[in-house]
């Protein structure tokens, strides 16, 4: 079991009423993009559908996933996360795209 740090965007923090920028979730290996998101949604069920589509589990278009400052948004859900994430040195970052809006 790995303890994974996950950075949550502002609007989802207010929705879940969590304090701070990050949450920590327990993930059973293999630790992948998909298994981390599964763990986040299991711990905070209100987030189901807000990060990934309810049915297709596709990433919502204006959210991005960053790993060690690299954009992993378009990698497959079963992509393993690196050691820095597994050890808690870096968070898995869910970022609201910095783009447009009103």
């Amino acid at each position: 079991m790995s303890l994974i740090r996950v950075e949550i965007p502002f609007h989802l923090r207010t929705l879940t009423k969590i304090e701070g920028r990050e949450v920590t979730v327990e993930v059973t290996p293999p630790v992948t993009i998909g298994s981390v998101l599964d763990a986040v949604e299991a711990k905070y069920p209100v987030l189901r559908g807000t990060i990934r589509d309810h049915v297709s589990l596709k990433r919502r278009p204006f959210l991005r996933f960053y790993v060690c400052e690299e954009d992993w948004s378009n990698l497959p859900a079963d992509t393993p996360l690196p050691e820095a994430i597994l050890t808690g040195q870096e968070p898995f970052a869910i970022i609201g795209a910095i783009a447009g809006g009103w």
Partner: protein, 386 residues
């Protein structure tokens, strides 16, 4: 002592405005759901402290929120399914999944396009059961909860009513109006841009278009002209469910037979384009619209914000201006942004894209601005509390 609670949805959150029955001194809440678009907020007529809200975002999707204390506190109503070990609700209150095969509708380019859920435009709580509520969504469909918002299920027969010929308006293909008949729980009307009006007599098992008689400037994709109309809003007085009023993309219409036939009643309006339409709480033949210059210029004619009232059910209209800006006004009033209270002297309310909320406590004769710097107003509802 009676009081009123005005529920305002805006582009950046929801606000609750309260006053006693005199409606002179108003209290404006802090914003709820800060930074999210709130398309609609509406309370149960059975339990007024139960309020549903549609919180939505192009980034994060759809959230349904519910308050059981008159809007003081809110939670996604998933609690019916229990909570997890951390105390967070386990429900699926945000899950809107089309029933069965998704199907396709007509797209802008003339091709068939799959239905894609985007957001909830309108919430219509049941007239009899506080756990029941309808939701009109984009892409257009009708959903219903029977468990207080814990789960939502589609009434799919609606989309099978020539759905292949429905197409989005410029604002999307939204189901924006849901009218419930208090004399017949199986009868519901819905309106969709740009598909038209549909009526069910069997609680949603089957539907038929209710658009006969509506004007058309151009040929519609449906050669029978039953669907494809850009209806902006319909309204009725609860005591007279066979009489419907409609603000269409162009022209105001009336039906005296539950939507079977429509007649234009635009009369002497300075423009028959607009979005909202509503009915006086105690005078079923008194109706209100807010004319907008045109579909190309979404602001009031002559830059004067005027509500128009007809006491004859249409055709003869009078401008109501006292207390409303009569120069340099370039706001719009959206389709869900007008409501009436049911106090003895009926109050009329509307919100603007400029963030103002106005109230007339005397049926439209005099207006006051309750608050003037909110984010753009998407919806206004009012609850009359005894």
């Amino acid at each position: 002592m009676s009081s009123v609670r005005v529920l305002v949805g805006t582009k950046k959150g929801a606000f609750i405005l309260t006053a006693d029955g005199a409606r002179k001194n108003w209290k404006v809440s802090e914003p709820h759901f800060v930074g999210w678009e709130v398309y609609h907020v509406k309370g149960s007529p059975v339990e007024p402290n139960r309020i549903f809200a549609s919180q939505t975002s192009g980034w994060f999707g759809q959230i349904i929120q519910r308050s059981d204390d008159g809007g003081k506190t809110w939670n996604p109503p998933g609690g019916g399914g229990g909570t997890n070990e951390m105390g967070f609700p386990m429900g699926e209150s945000n899950k809107f999944v089309y029933e069965g095969e998704v199907g396709k509708h007509l797209f802008y380019d003339g091709t068939q396009h799959p239905w894609e859920f985007k957001r909830v435009w309108h919430l219509e709580p049941s007239l009899t059961n506080p756990d029941e509520c309808y939701a009109g969504v984009e892409d257009a469909a009708l959903f219903k909860t029977t468990d207080g918002g814990h789960t939502w299920n589609e009434l799919p027969a609606l989309r099978h009513t020539k759905g292949e010929l429905w197409q989005p308006g410029a604002g999307g293909m939204g189901l924006h109006t849901i009218l419930l008949d208090k004399t017949n729980p199986n009868r519901i009307w819905v309106a969709i841009s740009a598909a038209g009006v549909f009526r069910t007599e069997d609680g949603g098992k089957s539907w038929k278009p209710a658009t006969k008689g509506l004007n058309m400037q151009y040929e519609l994709p449906d050669k029978s002209n039953e669907v494809g109309h850009c209806v902006h809003r319909i309204a009725m007085h609860p005591s007279r469910p066979n009489v419907l009023f409609m603000q269409k993309h162009w022209d105001v219409n009336r039906s005296d037979n539950a939507g079977d036939n429509w007649t234009e009643v635009s009369g002497n309006l300075p423009s028959d384009f607009g979005f909202p339409i509503d009915v006086h709480a105690h005078e079923p033949n008194t109706i209100y619209v807010v004319p907008i210059k045109s579909d190309s210029e979404h602001y009031p004619p002559d830059a004067k914000l005027r509500v128009y009232r007809s006491k004859t059910g249409g055709n003869e209209w009078e401008a109501l201006t006292k207390g409303l800006p009569q120069e340099h006004c370039y706001v719009n009033v959206l389709r869900d942004a007008m409501a009436v209270d049911s106090l003895d002297q009926c109050g009329i309310y509307f919100g603007t894209t400029g963030g103002q909320v106005y109230c007339s406590p005397d049926g439209g004769d005099n207006w006051q601005c309750l608050v003037h710097d909110l984010p753009g107003v998407l919806s206004v509802e009012v609850q009359t509390l005894k």
